[in-house]
């Protein structure tokens, strides 16, 4: 009798918990690790203004985010790269529609070198040659006679992929490139290594020198500042995206997405260290 009572109680508790848990997060966001801080900040500010809405943000990587989007375990998927055809295909299989793409922020990629390095500007082509190990010594670039140590990111990083596609023109990174677990680690390594060169978000700064980048030999070099990134003069920049299942893109989710691309949401982007979208891309 007693035991039965207990079991019923436990059952009741679990039942209520199961009912309450999903209700607690009205909007779930999952995906890119690069965007976790940004997404959390958005959620924080939005929830402060709209106390009735709960937003839950998790990282895990862009690919993980797309997998969750397909399985309909998340409402929004943060992505630091464009969705691949293969992923669109699995989405169509899962819910019969293409996910809707929203650009939500701009990110400039900086190239860092050690503060002692006299080299201060490079062309995109020179970067390609350095990161594919065709140029191996700083003296070929007007620097000291030292071999170049290349610091790169893990190949799961959206930054890695972007750099490979847009700077290396799809060629492979040198096998000797050191892969670091995060942008902070790249920066740290370059700050310690006078021979080093690395890349990462422009928002990260302290400790190393950001190079000015030229599109080609003839064009002027640009610093990765907000102005240069937003007006497109700085040659290495990318968009950050949010993908959503079109069937869910209504009500609270749609309002949230709209807010993210409003002036208020874009102000948060600036706070976190990325760059706001130019007005013509906000739709």
């Amino acid at each position: 009798m007693k035991a039965k009572n207990l079991i019923t109680r436990i059952g009741l508790c679990l039942g209520t918990a199961a009912l309450l848990l999903p209700a607690r997060a009205d909007i779930t966001v999952k995906g890119s690790d690069t965007m976790v801080i940004l997404a959390q900040k958005w959620a924080e500010v939005y929830m402060a203004n709209n106390p009735s809405i709960k937003i839950q943000v998790t990282g895990g990587g862009t690919g993980t985010g797309f997998a969750a989007l397909q399985n309909q375990q998340t409402d929004l998927c943060n992505a630091s790269r464009k969705i691949r055809a293969k992923e669109i295909e699995t989405c169509i299989r899962a819910f019969g529609k293409r996910p809707t793409e929203y650009r939500v922020a701009l990110d400039g990629l900086s190239v860092y070198v050690n503060a002692e390095n006299p080299v201060s500007e490079l062309t995109v082509e020179q970067l390609e040659l350095i990161f594919t190990a065709k140029i191996r010594n700083w003296k070929e670039l007007g620097g000291p006679d030292l071999p170049i140590t290349v610091y790169s990111r893990e190949n799961s990083s959206g930054t890695y992929e972007f750099f490979k596609e847009h700077v290396l023109q799809g060629k492979d990174f040198a096998a000797s490139a050191q892969t670091m677990p995060g942008t902070a680690a790249v920066l740290q390594a370059v700050a310690k290594d006078p021979k080093g060169i690395g890349y990462g978000g422009a928002a990260y700064g302290a400790g190393a020198k950001h190079l000015n980048i030229k599109k080609d030999e003839a064009s002027p070099a640009f610093e990765p500042t907000e102005e240069n990134v937003v007006n497109g003069a700085y040659p290495i920049s990318r968009h950050l995206f949010i993908y959503v299942n079109p069937a869910l893109d209504k009500g609270d989710v749609a309002n949230y997405l709209k807010w993210i691309r409003s002036d208020e949401g874009q102000a948060v982007v600036k706070d976190v260290g990325y760059f706001p979208l130019p007005a013509n891309l906000r739709r």
């Binding site: 690790d33 895990g60 990587g61 862009t62 690919g63 993980t64 797309f66 997998a67 397909q70 691949r84 055809a85 293969k86 992923e87 669109i88 295909e89 699995t90 169509i92 299989r93 019969g96 529609k97 293409r98 071999p147 140590t149 790169s152 893990e154 190949n155 799961s156 990083s157 959206g158 890695y160 992929e161 490979k164 596609e165 799809g170 060629k171 492979d172 990174f173 096998a175 000797s176 490139a177 050191q178 892969t179 677990p181 680690a185 390594a189 310690k192 290594d193």
Partner: protein, 381 residues
């Protein structure tokens, strides 16, 4: 029924026995399920059913009407049930996506001979291949990009390289420490030394990795003056720190469990404490010490975080001062971004299966050697 000495098993005891039995059975089942899961996900690679070629044969969506349903189903790679559940628009959309995938390919790569290669075939996985852009055949692991280069040899070499460095560093130290603590040290020293060394195993490997990344790497570079700051040597030594407590703990147990009378006999015959430990106790405990080393190997090759933090460039080189990328690192770092069910995803599961095979063989060989040694020691060989 275990308990039947003169009285009938009590219901509670019977129940306890059943519960324990079920728990142990479920543990075995769980391990089995994991193997089955890993194996199932990796199977298409083993059977050569994946195709990772950049340029796939594509049928333009306009020609959809010319295909009969079965052809269309096979082309879109759908199961009959999925196919039946889709309306025409969805199928049309799937065909368009295929077309888009083809159009995304940069024009200069359309003529690349590698663009048609199915890089998940075994000859690409195990043997060097001369990719366009390269001057000679090479072993290359570059899974991200238009042409997915999946050569697993650098990863296997990386795993073995770091593991062996770790063992060469850790085994002499930990076996030496075990001999000292179990045979030579005064009881007071033993009481402090043993738990202290075992405490090492409580340090999370992330912390060891972080320490190696920031401190050890700089110190070693200052000492050895090698070129790459983060390399297999640093990772191996850091791995050694993770392995030491495992090897020490088991070796110490093995040495302590050698009957005291062995030592006493040797001492009575006039040997020194050191001679008794080295010539009598260590040989008697050899199977246990060997088992400790085998377990240490398993720990080192399965360790992920340390190698991930310290070095992870997939260089094909046996030099200990070059970087290395281990199998575990690869799985941990790349799984999050792999398209679920895609070839990269399956390739990572295949690596998991390879890793399992390596540790399984190592444990098996270790076990056989231990049994041989035991039989020899007991005079039954």
């Amino acid at each position: 029924m275990g308990i039947q000495r003169g009285h009938r098993a009590r219901p509670l005891e019977w129940l306890a026995e059943r519960v324990i039995f079920t728990i142990s059975l479920s543990a075995i089942m769980l391990i089995l399920l994991i193997f089955i899961f890993v194996g199932r996900e990796a199977l298409p690679i083993f059977l050569g059913r994946m195709d990772s070629a950049l340029i796939q044969e594509t049928i333009p969506p306009e020609r959809m009407n010319e295909l009969d349903p079965e052809e269309l189903r096979v082309y879109l790679d759908l199961s009959p049930r999925q196919f039946a559940g889709m309306d025409r628009d969805t199928l049309q959309m799937l065909m368009e996506v295929r077309q888009e995938a083809l159009e995304e390919i940069p024009p200069e790569q359309l003529n690349d001979p590698d663009a048609h290669a199915n890089t998940t075939a075994w000859r690409y996985l195990l043997f060097p291949h001369q990719w366009s852009d390269y001057d000679r055949p090479r072993y290359i692991w570059q899974p991200i990009g238009n042409i997915h280069k999946y050569n697993i040899v650098p990863l296997i070499v990386g795993s073995l390289k770091t593991t062996l460095i770790g063992l060469f560093f850790a085994v002499p130290i930990s076996v030496g420490a075990a001999i000292y603590v179990s045979q030579l040290a005064r009881p007071r020293v033993r009481e402090i030394a043993k738990p202290t060394i075992e405490l090492l195993s409580g340090i999370p490997s992330v912390v060891v990795g972080f320490f190696a990344l920031l401190v050890m790497a700089s110190v070693f570079q200052a000492v050895f003056q090698y070129e790459t700051r983060l390399n297999a040597f640093v990772a191996g030594i850091a791995l050694g720190f993770a392995v030491i407590p495992v090897v020490f703990s088991i070796a110490e147990d093995a040495l302590t469990s050698v009957p005291r009378s062995y030592t006493q006999g040797a001492l009575a015959l006039g040997s020194s404490k050191w001679q008794a430990a080295w010539h009598i106790v260590l040989p008697a405990a050899l199977p246990g010490v060997f088992a400790a080393v085998v377990l240490g190997f398993g720990r080192a090759i399965g360790e992920t975080m340390i190698v991930l933090m310290v070095c992870s460039a997939s260089v094909m080189s046996w030099s200990i001062f070059d970087s290395a990328r281990s199998i575990t690192t690869t799985i941990a770092a790349e799984m999050a971004e792999a398209v679920a069910g895609g070839h990269h995803y399956r390739m990572l599961f295949m690596l998991g299966a390879v890793l399992f095979a390596v540790t399984f063989v190592a444990n098996l060989v270790g076990d056989i050697v231990i049994h041989r040694l035991k039989r020899k020691l007991e005079g039954r060989s």
